[in-house]
Symmetry: C2
Subunit: 346 residues, 2 copies
């Protein structure tokens, strides 16, 4: 248990004042080359590394940001976190990740914990649309940016998202091109802007393509494995089954694929399946899931760089950035033209 060496120790060894040590540490321009070297030598000799906590207290900057996610074990967030962590490193920022439920209470706790730790800013990767706490903190001056999901009436709060409505429409339009008419939809809770808008996109596309909107084809609840599995299985076994499914997440698309296997349906011969998100596993040849891409990488990097620039600008309420990226339909192997002979209802 060695004693910590402080800037004073360095100063003593280098025969300068502690303030000078601080100056070379911060690359203050007007320090003689000579003293710079003396200090650097002393630093190396003692193995000194500055106490970032003390630094933060004095400078009011922590070089740390917060990232609030729903469930880091979910591939979507895991991949997002990977991008953000790696990117933040480049700017010498650390990140505290909080993995919390999205209810008001847990969320409020998460954000105030981060606020207590004096993070320089927060990327919120999972808010409900109706969240109130967020505004409160935003208005207190804490730099915040929403990633992927955003809140309702967020005239001011920055966000980066993908056009979810358009994504769902693209998927449905594509399935319609493949002659599908009965298309089931698996929606997550519409308290999230993503699911809310994807659902709207689904409904609009059904209407625009002059198909019949059948409520029995729609699942809309928590995305739990069992429930979605049962729903899909029942639907496939019903007398008038859908010939295609659009899932609001790739994870759920996999569940539908499970259900298809269970009841002997072949994908895509008997049933077409489209996911949403394009998580890594979707592109695995063994899965080969057709899906709507979130542009995760662009979104994540944008969220981070925007946040950092807001931080740098000192929170002066620059015009809020609202960025909506275009989703991309990725066609792989779980979708195909509707099999006419396999269905009685034609």
């Amino acid at each position: 248990m060695k004693e910590r060496v402080s800037a004073y120790d360095v100063a003593k060894l280098a025969k300068v004042s502690q303030s000078t040590v601080s100056r070379v540490l911060n690359n203050y321009p007007y320090v003689k080359k000579e003293t710079q070297e003396k200090v650097h030598n002393a630093i190396n000799a003692l193995g000194f590394s500055p106490d970032e906590i003390a630094r933060s207290l004095a400078s009011k900057k922590t070089n740390t940001i917060g990232l609030i996610v729903d469930d880091i074990s979910n591939s979507f967030y895991a991949e997002t976190a990977h991008i953000i962590l790696r990117e933040a490193q480049k700017y010498d920022y650390e990140v505290i990740i909080i993995d919390a439920e999205t209810d008001e209470e847990s969320f409020a706790k998460a954000i105030s914990t981060l606020n207590g730790k004096r993070v320089d800013g927060i990327i919120v990767a999972s808010v409900r649309m109706d969240n109130q706490k967020l505004k409160e903190f935003y208005e207190s001056g804490l730099p915040i940016i929403c990633y992927n999901r955003r809140i309702h009436h967020s005239e001011k709060i920055h966000y980066v998202e993908v056009d979810n409505r358009l994504g769902a429409k693209k998927a449905i339009n594509y399935l319609v091109e493949l002659k599908h008419e009965r298309i089931a939809y698996i929606s997550g809770p519409t308290i999230y802007s993503t699911f809310f808008e994807r659902f709207e996109g689904y409904q609009e596309a059904i209407k625009e393509n002059q198909l019949i909107y059948d409520n029995s084809l729609v699942y809309q609840a928590e995305l739990e494995y069992e429930k979605v599995f049962d729903f899909s299985l029942n639907l496939m076994r019903s007398e008038n089954p859908p010939t295609a499914f659009l899932a609001s997440t790739d994870q759920m698309a996999l569940v539908i694929m499970d259900a298809a296997v269970r009841c002997g349906r072949h994908v895509p011969y008997d049933v077409s399946i489209v996911g949403f998100d394009d998580i890594a596993i979707a592109s695995s040849p063994y899965i080969n899931l057709s899906t709507v891409s979130q542009q995760k990488k662009e979104m994540a990097i944008l969220a981070l760089t925007k946040l950092l620039s807001i931080i740098k600008s000192g929170g002066k309420t620059e015009d809020s950035s609202k960025i909506t990226l275009l989703p991309k339909l990725i066609i792989r192997r779980t979708t195909g033209i509707k099999n006419e002979w396999n269905n009685s209802n034609n």
Copy 2:
């Protein structure tokens, strides 16, 4: 941009001293009920929340731990992180995750960044066996525990792992029971204790079962998709193909499954596949991968609680905890009895 309220503001409003405010904040026992209430009222009235940075500086505790991983988008680490993040919350600990390469330089940077942030301790989820930096920091008194992978000759450094050698043996023994004789093995870099020991387990099991060790059946390099895919595909198309594969990670087992699909092999009828890790997707009915479980949850919780107890004990070098859990063979649907008629070499 509201002004931050400090403990002084609270003190003024409550007509007490700042130290008293500090006392009620820390649940110091001897404060009159009456003054406690006064302070609490003032806190609520002002919406005060203590500055954890200042607190850390004064108390020399940050209530933050570090977690070093290889690649958080990898399911194994993502699931680990989820467990640790959620568990740490219960103890009011935050966690800074660093996603870094495992070479000496990146690792050294990661650990000294964490050290600079004055984290109370670190969970290292990805070290190479030969890492030197770790010992250095360990000896400086920083509480550290290795998770899953450990370093060589780590007489002192704490770790929690699973018996990887035994895991591989269990898998091979099981495949032998299924009459397999030519069993391929996909190993990751043996600079990691996990892969090193799994590989030893494979070799020992081959020997103990009096099978012939055939080096051409073994892949041992970086676990890159393309490479493993090609290796597996070539092997399956060779004139004397293996009838079973053991992969040192579930991710790679999926790659082998891809290769099987590509060359028209049926799993498990033509070829059996066993993974390692039991990541979430492995249990999906669509995949149904037979695998060796890491006991991730137990491992992660043990790593965290051990670390916290080391922290609490003030780093007094209590006898180092070395915990090795038993792996569990999980039999699902990618393994089956060897198909005699399908192979010429019998």
